[in-house]
Symmetry: C2
Subunit: 514 residues, 2 copies
């Protein structure tokens, strides 16, 4: 298999399953020529009816065929019922070899594994998590899976790299013309931003709702002029489960210590001041950092221009304290962040295009001051792994990690130096999910390492109380305490490829040996 | 010149100035094949700056060239300063033969006439009004002008028929990244809906604001990810002038009598009931009808599902009385309708794509119950003219007239039988702006004529107190009182073509003889 070494030193095959892969070249190096993909016209007349009786009828109406691509959004996170419901109907329809393009999957989607084994699902483009990723790692998926960040996904849709045949949009509220929102209804989850690009570019768009209301369903988050069909079902999900797994705040001393250290770094790097901006990732340590940052801002009367995210009660509390002017909501990580948008004009939803697409006229991440993020591993080159565990299994998606790391003035990665018998800081990450060019600092329980490429930051911190350590010292501690990591046992077969947000490839993931 | 007769009996040249013209074939007969046009990628990195010093600098940055197309929106109506300001800068830049693509023009844009004479402007695609239309009628414009409805304009942009090189968007509020809204600032005019398609499909997008605020400008009506440059100017317009000309309510007895008769027709046609929908045009009689409808609904405790428009205080009053659940705002016709949107979650903006594009997945007009509209003339075939006066001069745009007439279950045209010495109801309209297939009834000061093609409506009205007259009787009255109309004196040269919303051609307009 011909391959080339990319800008983080990983070998990228030039071609995989008929797909030509371009190697990653650097943060802002790959731009498109020409124009975006084009959307599809409709053909609607007075008297036409969009409301169908069942998902099966919608599959039929969309003329869905073997091998086509269906997409989903993940605003209901681990409480989503739509993906399983639709894929079951697709299976019952007798379709095979489908490409599933979700903005993310969660442990609740484990029933897809059976459809993977049956050949109903041929590959996944976008994001995987937990049991689906594990099944992929064990070679149970027939086709190649492509992992993309949130910005990378919308770029792939807008550029035509990812062609969606039918977008199924779970809608907490909809009307019979297809206007949708996620602010009202028993399954309210905030916004439908991840489905916006899908609804613009998919051939057909189906709204699936458990709260069909009289026209017009307000506010309009996805508009009727982009929707072909509407299906009413008893339930699209359980919105109590949008707080789940990665979105619970850390409380143990090791993690809160890391969070405090990250805040300390932000402060002494000059990033905590009036007019600042900030984003936290979904992980427990990130949430703890947000909480500590809020306390600090309150104590020092600092007012941020804006914060974005994954919005939680912690961000809302900062705003309610008067320490943040605006919240830009890419998704809601708890129910408070849903209800707050109902009445707060300074807490507004943003699409992933707005937030993270590297090929638009200006993504929010490009003006972001600080982002705090997590990772499963980091290496002495400052590359970060968020996708695989150290045994090689693909268990997590990328989310907005790559996007914010690339754009933010200060990107902070937070993790312990080792976990039990596993060295987290190591010579080489199992998988490169975020390239070292985008990583400014790694904050651990044993000290903070700043990327030597960030000479300006190192200069700024000189003489400050922030004690820096060499990343290799952190690795040495990890190896001393947890043992030198063993290379995972792989087969040759590549089961998944990790894209950078610009469509080039950072790494590949191989099938694990049983 | 080869020509074919279209479905309203007008001769349409098969080709004009290199443009192939398809004749109008009927209301919902012409649909596209294939896909929409494609938007343009951006190339934005951290640290890039969008804020420029002047409009001239923006023209330079956009690399605007001779013969290219620039677009504008008309939410500031007769109070707009942006069109004149930008076109003056384009002239000073030495550019020539520009195509100007406004969603509408107003008398305030008279300074463009000089630029037409100088050859800076070669043609207008979209809409004209008053002095510009008059100049076109007198042959002063070099190129062919294309008139489109609101739905037709967005269809033309989405389909790539109208290619915009640079969209200049007057923004009552913007930030340095290009987020815009029209709800705040001294020039607040409600919404920027007419510029939404422009911002998605134009090669370059320039925000021009007189209220540059800190990021993020909220709410986001046009988002930073679609904006290339931002220019701050002292003033973009006078929002007190959005109530102007056509948007003042009628008070004289002849006109209010027509409005009362239209309400009577609506009532007896069964269109005034709980769950109804309604739109009024911008004309004085339409506004009076809205007021009377509101009084009737209040007296009879009727609650509409929604009303849309051109929103005025009259529509808002109906909602405040509890007689209308939701207002869908295509544009604001007065300042109250701007401020109301700030706090009223059931009064929301809609784009012209949502409202009227015939080629999307369902325009609002397709589910509209009743629309009341005006016209400069109507003929015994039930064709309506809104563009030209009876002397042949092109003085008005189409607005949403064609779109709503085509979609609504009941389209009512309201006008006097004659005006002074001019027969309004006549054998043949000077220009066909809305085809008879879309016109259900003509309400005049001398009685109501129902289109004989609407057998269902005629049946429904049989036995009701609504007295119907034959349209030919109305014409006879007109001719008896005002004299038989003379054909305008034209030269051979076609100066403008009137499109139907689907891109086919309804009529052409010739240069008038001096």
């Amino acid at each position: 298999m011909a391959s080339v070494k990319n800008a983080v030193g990983r070998e990228i095959p030039t071609e995989l399953e008929g797909r030509k892969l371009k190697p990653y070249r650097g943060l802002f190096k790959t731009y498109p020529r020409g124009r975006k993909a084009a959307g599809y016209f409709g053909r609607n007349k007075p008297g036409d009816r969009k409301l169908l009786e069942s998902i099966d009828e919608a599959i039929h109406a969309c003329k869905l065929k073997d091998g086509q691509t269906v997409s989903f959004h993940h605003h209901l996170r681990d409480g989503d019922y739509v993906v399983n419901m639709v894929m079951k109907a697709i299976a019952e329809h007798g379709l095979r070899d489908m490409v599933v393009a979700p903005s993310a999957l969660f442990p609740c989607h484990e029933p897809l594994v059976e459809l993977i084994d049956q050949g109903v699902i041929r590959s996944i483009e976008g994001s995987v998590n937990g049991p689906i990723g594990d099944a992929i790692s064990h070679g149970r998926m027939k086709g190649l899976n492509i992992l993309r960040s949130h910005g990378g996904r919308v770029r792939a849709i807008e550029s035509g790299e990812l062609k969606i045949d039918v977008a199924f949009v779970g809608a907490p509220t909809a009307d019979a013309q297809g206007n949708m929102n996620a602010l009202h209804g028993k399954s309210a989850c905030g916004f439908l931003g991840y489905a916006v690009a899908d609804s613009i570019f998919a051939k057909k768009v189906v709204a699936i709702t458990d709260n069909l209301v009289d026209y017009p369903a307000l506010p309009i988050q996805i508009a009727a002029d982009y929707v072909d069909y509407v299906v009413s079902v008893p339930s699209i999900g359980d919105n109590q489960k949008i707080v789940s797994g990665t979105t619970k705040i850390a409380t143990d001393p090791q993690k809160t210590g890391i969070a405090m250290a990250a805040l300390d770094l932000m402060v002494h790097a000059g990033m905590v001041k009036d007019g600042m901006s900030y984003q936290a990732g979904a992980g427990g340590i990130s949430l703890a950092t947000t909480k500590f940052l809020g306390d600090y801002m309150k104590a020092h009367n600092i007012v941020a221009a804006w914060m974005d995210g994954g919005v939680t009660e912690h961000l809302i509390q900062i705003q309610r304290n008067g320490n943040c002017k605006a919240i830009l909501n890419g998704q809601s990580f708890d129910v408070l962040s849903v209800t707050d948008m109902l009445t707060n004009p300074n807490h507004v939803p943003i699409t992933p295009n707005y937030y993270a697409n590297p090929w638009n006229k200006g993504a929010l991440v490009n003006i972001l001051d600080t982002v705090v993020l997590g990772g499963t591993e980091a290496d002495i080159d400052f590359n970060i792994n968020v996708n695989t565990h150290s045994d090689g299994r693909l268990l997590h998606g990328i989310g907005g990690h790559q996007d914010t790391a690339a754009g933010a003035k200060l990107s902070i990665m937070m993790m312990p130096v080792f976990r039990k018998t596993n060295a987290i800081i190591r010579d080489r990450v199992t998988t490169v999910s975020a390239p070292h060019h985008s990583v400014d600092a790694i904050v651990t329980d044993q000290g903070i390492a700043v990327n030597p490429a960030r000479k300006d930051l190192l200069k700024k911190l000189r003489g400050s109380p922030v004690k820096l350590v060499d990343i290799k010292e952190l690795r040495d501690i990890a190896y001393a305490e947890a043992g030198k990591p063993e290379e995972p046992h792989y087969l040759d077969r590549i089961v998944s490829a990790v894209q950078f947000r610009d469509g080039t490839y950072l790494d590949v993931i191989r099938q694990v040996k049983e």
